[in-house]
């Protein structure tokens, strides 16, 4: 029940295309859904996050779509660039009281390549 399932495992998109990465969760207590970007040899970097009270959130070229009834959320990258090539992880957690200290449950990651 704690799992977060992420797909696809890898994705190749031409520059300017819109890669879409999907995640599904099982635990209905989850109420915080971030996406992290990781470059080789680096730690995960927080990209964008959403809470279930909204169905979409945009920050720059990155958009999260959230479907609470289906327990699914996805990341869209608009006007993708070669510099966006990285591994992307979705995650989920409970917020807990006062912000909380809950650990993040990560998906298995998507290796994204943007071809020039």
């Amino acid at each position: 029940q704690q799992q977060v399932k992420q797909s696809p495992q890898s994705l190749i998109v031409q520059k300017g295309g819109i890669p879409i990465i999907n995640c599904a969760y099982e635990n209905t207590a989850f109420d915080y859904f971030p996406w992290y970007q990781q470059f080789p040899g680096k730690g995960p970097a927080l990209l964008i996050a959403i809470r279930p009270d909204v169905s979409e959130k945009k920050e720059g070229r990155f958009t999260i779509s959230f479907n609470k009834s289906a327990k699914q959320f996805s990341l869209h990258i608009m006007d993708s660039q070669p510099g966006d090539s990285a591994t992307y992880f979705c995650a989920a957690s409970k917020e807990g009281s006062g912000g909380g200290a809950d650990g993040l449950t990560f998906g298995k990651g998507t290796h994204l390549i943007i071809q020039p």
Binding site: Y32, P34, Y36, G41, K42, G43, P44, A45, L46, A49, R51, F89, A91, S93, K94, E95, G96, G98, G99, G100, A101, D102, G103, L104, T105, F106, G107, K108, G109
Partner: protein, 114 residues
């Protein structure tokens, strides 16, 4: 921009030895975390720490692991007797109070157990 730092960047140890991984969280953050990432796999939660005590731990975080905040700036993960399967990247993360669950990760320590 403040960031989480971790030392060492790479630690090589013999099986059965104790290792201590060190982290300096972002200075105004109050929640601290350790995660691990086995090569090519997903990031896995180990433990969270708040107000000088463990808040939550995963089933991975067994009696071989311990965490400590020995002073006002450092946060450490100790593995008492390392096993081959402990080889992984270990990430420290921190979060400030009231900031949803926005956790900021350090660059990681690569632990290699021989």
């Amino acid at each position: 921009e403040p960031e989480v730092t971790q030392t060492p960047s790479h630690q090589v140890t013999q099986m059965g030895q104790e290792v201590i991984l060190r982290c300096v969280p972002i200075s105004n953050h109050l929640y601290f975390y350790w995660y691990r990432q086995i090569l090519g796999q997903k990031v896995e939660f180990l433990v969270s720490f708040y107000n000088n005590e463990i808040s939550e731990k995963s089933e991975i975080f067994d009696d071989q692991f311990s965490v400590e905040r020995p002073d006002g700036s450092n946060f450490t993960l100790k593995i008492r007797s390392t096993k081959l399967e402990d080889s992984a990247m270990y990430f420290c993360a921190s979060k400030r109070r009231g900031a949803h669950n926005e956790q900021f990760f350090g660059p990681g320590t690569r632990l290699t157990v021989l």
